[in-house]
């Protein structure tokens, strides 16, 4: 089942399915959010926004509306 990265709970591991078309897509790709990339949501700022995500060993923070562009699926399904 496809989900949005913004809805993923802390600690959960997911893999990227795609990024919705937008001006930010190229930036998100550059930061390493490619199809199949494993992400783990690490923690959220107070008020739940922005969120911090582990991407291949580094910590990326995104605002919720940026995370909404990222389609993900849970890790088990991907495998």
């Amino acid at each position: 089942m496809l989900k949005l990265l913004s809805n993923i709970a802390n600690g959960e591991e997911v893999s990227v399915v795609g990024i919705q078309s937008s001006e930010l897509r190229v930036k998100l790709l550059e930061m390493g959010l490619l199809e199949g990339q494993t992400l783990r949501v690490l923690f959220r700022a107070p008020f739940g926004d922005p969120i911090a995500v582990d991407v291949n060993g580094y910590t990326l923070s995104l605002r919720l509306n940026e995370a909404q562009l990222v389609l993900v699926q849970s890790k088990e399904l991907a495998e």
Binding site: E23, L24, L29, G32, L42, P46, P50, Y58, L62
Partner: protein, 645 residues
């Protein structure tokens, strides 16, 4: 030979720059774009190398002002920074993401040296990299390993630069236009496909479990996170006010004795006056702010170096966004408490145009160090020295209140500007939270040095120029108005049997009254009367339009007292006794508070305006800034005066 240093943010790029160039650095400007670029010089065995430290970026395709410089420097052949070769830093702890930019710059076709930064994080994760795989992937580039933290790799980099050769002409791949986003997406994806193949062969990770700091649990905690940030701010400002005074008093004394000494050794005349009353105090007025600015940037760069500042951005972003600001606006606003000039420049890291513009427009509302002498004088004048609840000093509370007034107004104005300024861009905050690490003191020292130099250079030349102009306007008047006023003053001094010193002060006072500035002060009296000001205050207002702190010196001249720097006891006493034509006190609580509010809001700093013009590339925004802040100052002072009178 000119070499461009490129790399992702947080890769130790600036450490490598510092390791190679040491103190031989200066700041240059990209023509047409006003982003300061650090340049440094060093020698290899065979040649002199000019190293250009381009801003850190994740890709050659730009989204912020900083990143645009990288794109243009590397792609526009013939520009002032176009390099002969590229030195690209690759952070070994994040090979995949770093190779995106690395492969892009490799494809430019310029001779390239890759520096593999085997930093502490990479070592802690047990990452090993097979450089043979990388060499095979980028056959025309050289690879060297370095660890600037322990000073490792300098010789290797120098050797590599020495043996730099030409690239084969066919190896260049053309890159896309800055705004061709669709092609950029395709390129990024295809590059990553290649990069992943390389990384899977090149990288050996011994330990897969990620090291995640327990610090984040507390530093971004909904309650403790903000409390800790607040406490850190409090400690920093306490520290600055406790310790900056000593060097400031020293500088003040030094420059007044220099003026005094010069006036005693130089022949009397207009030229000597220009030096002793215009130029020397002008330079002194710039230098005196260095201790505060240096201290504040010392602390800010510690926060930045350790990785904490990124967490501040992270926890503040949600709070700042409804106001049209960005989490990253926190740094410009903090810097502006020292001086708005580095504050305005710090806004460059904000990639969203509107959020950056709003940050720039409100930065001068934060109470900068130049307002402190003004506040100190006015507080001593109208606020009683007493304590409430047994321990709280009222004067101290008023000072704190003025800082809060500036900050709250800055946030309010940001909100209004958010509604007024239109933008099609959607703000974004893609931010890497770097791992916590111990600060590198060498880097911090260089940051402080650079910020001080920017202040002295950018603000200094304008403050100096204006103080010379003001000196002239205060010393010359239409026809022989000044000389006849002087005669009258001498006659009056004789009649009242004043001693030599008193006579001299009286003369300089009437001279100022009859100079161009004095005439201007008198002519604006009707406008400032509703604020509770007389023409003498008018003079002080006009003189401090260029730089606020001049207010104190002007008041001292107008009231014919010695400006004794720090304490101003003489001036305060004199002002307290000052009465108007009806015998009422001039400096009442209402007038004093009105003046404080005026100085809190008014845009009285030419140097900041010049920098805002530079940063926004038009006069439109600095003029809007002068306008809205002027209205705020006038209305605020009016309300303060009328409600207290």
């Amino acid at each position: 030979m000119r070499i461009a240093l490129v790399g992702n943010p947080n890769t130790g790029k600036s450490s490598i720059f510092n390791m190679l160039t040491g103190l031989r650095q200066h700041v240059g400007n990209f023509p047409g774009i006003t982003v300061d670029i650090k340049q440094g010089k060093f020698e290899t065995e065979t040649q002199l190398i000019e190293l250009v430290d381009l801003p850190g970026t994740y890709s050659i395709y730009p989204r912020s002002e900083d990143e645009r410089v990288v794109y243009r420097s590397l792609t526009e052949d013939g520009n002032a920074f176009y390099p002969d070769a590229i030195l690209a830093v690759i952070d070994a702890s994040n090979l995949e993401r770093n190779l995106l930019l690395a492969s892009q710059v490799y494809d430019l076709g310029l001779p390239t040296v890759f520096v593999l930064n085997m930093n502490d994080v990479a070592q802690r994760r047990g990452i090993k990299i097979n450089t043979d795989v990388l060499r095979a992937a980028f056959p025309e580039a050289q690879f060297v390993e370095a660890n600037p933290r322990v000073g490792l790799g300098k010789t290797r980099i120098l050797d590599a630069l020495n043996s730099i050769g030409k690239r084969s002409a066919t190896s260049a791949v053309s890159i896309y236009e800055m705004d061709d986003i669709e092609s950029q997406e395709k390129e990024t994806i295809s590059r990553y496909v290649t990069i992943r193949k390389i990384v899977s062969k090149a990288e050996i990770r011994q330990e897969t479990s990620q090291f995640k700091s327990k610090w984040d649990k507390i530093l971004i905690h909904p309650v403790f996170g903000y409390l800790i940030f607040g406490a850190i701010l409090l400690i920093i400002f306490q520290f600055i006010y406790a310790f900056a005074n000593y060097p400031m008093d020293l500088i003040d004394g030094l420059f007044s004795s220099l003026s005094f000494w010069l006036s005693s050794v130089l022949p009397e005349g207009a030229f000597t006056d220009l030096i002793t009353q215009g130029i020397v105090p002008g330079i002194g007025g710039v230098v005196i702010f260095i201790p505060q600015i240096a201290l504040l940037f010392f602390f800010i760069s510690i926060l930045e170096e350790t990785g904490y500042l990124a967490r501040v951005v992270f926890i503040m972003d949600r709070l700042m966004r409804p106001l049209g600001l960005n989490g990253k606006s926190v740094v410009p606003m903090m810097s502006s408490v020292a001086c708005a000039i580095p504050g305005v420049m710090a806004a460059r890291t904000i990639s969203d145009r509107k959020e950056r513009l709003i940050t720039i427009l409100i930065a001068p509302l934060m109470s900068c160090s130049a307002r402190i002498p003004v506040y100190t004088l006015l507080i001593a004048l109208v606020i009683p020295k007493q304590t409430i609840f047994g321990f709280m000093n009222v004067q101290g509370l008023v000072l704190l209140g003025l800082y809060l007034l500036g900050t709250v107004m800055a946030l309010l104005i940001a909100f209004v500007l958010k509604l007024l300024i239109k933008s099609n861009e959607k703000g974004f905050l893609l931010l890497e939270l770097p791992e916590y690490k111990a600060p590198r003191w060498g880097n911090i020292g260089l940051v402080v040095w650079e910020k001080v130099r920017i202040f002295v250079w950018d603000a200094g030349k304008i403050i100096l120029a204006i103080s010379i102009i003001l000196w002239a306007m205060a010393n010359y008047g239409p026809s022989d108005r000044i000389s006849s006023a002087r005669m009258a003053a001498i006659a009056q001094a004789e009649k009242n049997a004043l001693n030599e010193q008193e006579t001299e002060k009286l003369i300089s006072s009437v001279e100022m009254e009859n100079s161009y500035i004095g005439i201007m002060g008198k002519s604006i009296e009707p406008v400032i009367k509703p604020l509770g000001y007389d023409w003498k205050i008018g003079i002080a207002l006009i003189t401090s339009f260029a730089a606020r702190e001049v207010f104190v010196g002007s008041m001292a001249t107008i009231y014919a007292v010695e400006d004794d720097g720090g304490e101003q006891i003489g001036l305060t006493e004199k002002l307290k006794r000052e009465t108007d034509r009806n015998g009422d006190k001039v400096y009442t609580l209402a007038t004093g508070v009105s003046l404080m509010v005026f100085y809190a809001f008014a845009m009285m700093c030419m140097a900041t305006l010049a920098v805002v013009k530079r940063e926004t590339k038009s006069w439109k925004w600095p003029l809007i800034q002068v306008g809205y802040m002027g209205v705020l100052a006038y209305l605020g002072a009016f309300i303060a005066y009328q409600s207290l009178i």
